[in-house]
Amino acid sequence: MRLQFVLAEIGSGLRRNLSMVVSVILVTFVSLTFVGAAGMLQLQINQMKGYWYDKVQVAIFLCSDGSTATGCATGPATPEQQDNVAKLLASPAVAQYVNDFQFESKDDAYKHFKEQFSNSPIVDSVTPDQLPASFRINMKDPEKYQIISETFSSQAGVETVIDQRQLLERLFSVMNAASLVAVSVAGVMIVCAILLIATTIRLSAFSRRRETGIMRLVGASKIVIQLPFILEGVIAAVIGAVLASGTLWAVAHFFLGGYLSKQYPDTAFISAGQTLVLAPALIGLGVLLAGVSSLLTLRRYLRV
C-alpha cells in the first residue's frame, strides 16, 4: 500500500511538473554526455596504446617479407641476424641504457595486433607473416633513444628503430586536452543540473504543500513524505543518463565504427560495446547528483 502510494505520488508529481522534469532530463543528458565523452577519449587512448606502450619505449623491427628498407635488401631477417641484435642489446655498451628487452615473434605480434584492432576490418586481411618480429626495449632513460637508433639502424636484418612514444604522445596530449575540456564543460553543466534539480524539487514541494502538511499532521514517516520528491529527481536524472549512454553508443557505433575506422584503417578504435561500460558510471553519477541535491533541498524546504 505504501509503495503503491509512493509510486502514485511520483506519477502525479512528474505529470504536474512536466516542463521542469523535461528540462532536468535534458540538462543531465547534456552534462553526462560530456562526462561520457571524456571517458570515451580515455578509453580510446588506452586502445591506441596497445600492448607495448606502457611497457617499453623503443622498438627494433626486424625485416620481414614485404620490407623495403635498405637494410632489408637480403630479405627477411635470418635467425643469425636476430641473434646478433640480441647479443648487441646485451653487450655492455648498450646494456647501460637498457632496463630490459623482450623479443616479439611474428606470432606474438599477430596476437597483439588482433587484440588491438579487434574492432577493425583490417584484422581479417593480416597474417602473421606480414608482421615483423621485433625487440621491445624498456629504456633506463627514454631520452637516450638516439643512441639505440644509431646503434641498430645500420645492423643487418633491422628494418627500422622506432620511438613509440614520440609517435603517439603528441596525439595523446591532444586527446587528453580534449578530455579536459569535456570534463570542464561537464562540470559547469553538472552545476546547472544540480541547481535545476533543486529548483524543480522546490517547486514540486511547494505545489504539494497541502498534501505534505497533512501527511506531517497524521504522522506519515519522513521517508513516505520525502521519497516521492527524491525519486522524482532521481528518475529524471536516470532518464538523462540513459540518453547520454545511448548517445555515446551511437557516436561509437556510427561515427567511430562506421566512418572513422574506414577513413583511418590503421588506427585502433574502441567498439560501440566498450562505451557501454561507461553507462553504469553515468547512471550512478546521475542518481548521485539528483539524490544529493534533492535531499539538501528537501531538508530546507520540506520540514518533517
Binding site: M1, R2, F5, R210, E211, G213, I214, M215, R216, L217, V218, G219, A220, S221, K222, V224, I225, V304
Partner: protein, 268 residues
Amino acid sequence: MIRFENVTKVYDQTARPALDSINLEIDRGEFAFLVGASGSGKSTFLRLVLKEDRASSGAVYVAGQNVANISSWRVPRLRRGIGVVFQDFRLLPQKTVFANVAFAMQVIGKSRSVIRDTVPEVLKTVGLEGKENRLPHELSGGEQQRVAIARAVVNRPGILLADEPTGNLDPTTSMGIMGVLDKINQNGTTVVMATHDDDIVNEMRKRVVELRNGVIIRDEAKALYTSMIPVVGQSRRLRDASGRDAEPAPDPGGTTRTEVRDAGGNQL
C-alpha cells in the same frame, strides 16, 4: 494525557513569552476548551503538544512521554496519536470525501482492506454517510469540517486537538460540529479545543482553560466562556495548586450576567 510543567515558550527574546511558565494537566478522556484572545498562547499550546515547536523551558508530556525526549524520526509516531482539526478544514480539493479520509491511512501504510472497512465507519460517525464520492467544493462548510474531523480521527488517536474548528461556521452548524466532537469524546478520545466561540463553550459546559498573555488566568470545570471571578491573583492561586479544579465551579445561578453580556440572549 497532556501535562505541561512550567512550560515557557519564547519566540522573540525582546517580546514577552508566548507562554509563561504554564502548568496544566488534561486527563485521558477529558474535554477541555482553551479560550482567550488572539495572541494569548492557544495556538502555541497546541503546537507544543504536536512537537511542531520546542518549549523554551519546562517539560511537555504527551501520553506520559516527555516530547523533548522524542527523537525526530519518532515524531511521526507521536503525531499518529494526535488528531488535528483546523478552522480552514485543509481538505485536498481534488480528492473525494472518501479519498481525503483514506489519505490519512494510506500515508501511514494501512492496507487497502482496512481502509475500505474503516473509512465508511468513520464517515458514519461524523454523519456523512452517502457523501463518500463528493468533492470538497460540493459540500457545505459544516460538512467539510466533518470530513476534516473524520480524517483526524480515522487512525483512532488518543487526543484530538481542534484549533477554532467552528471559526468559519454559523452557530447552528457549529452546534452540529460540537455534537460530533462530543461523540468522539464519549468514545474515549481526549479533546482539546481552542475557540473564541462563547455560545459553544456556554452550551457544552466543559472544562475551560483561559489564557491571557501567555498565562493561565482561569481553569474551571463545567464552566462558561467568561468567568464570574476574573481575578488574576486568584488564577495564580489556582495554578499553584497544580492546575485545575482547585475551586469549585461557580454557581450556575451566578453566571446570569455573563450569559447576557456574551451571548446576547442567544444563550442555551
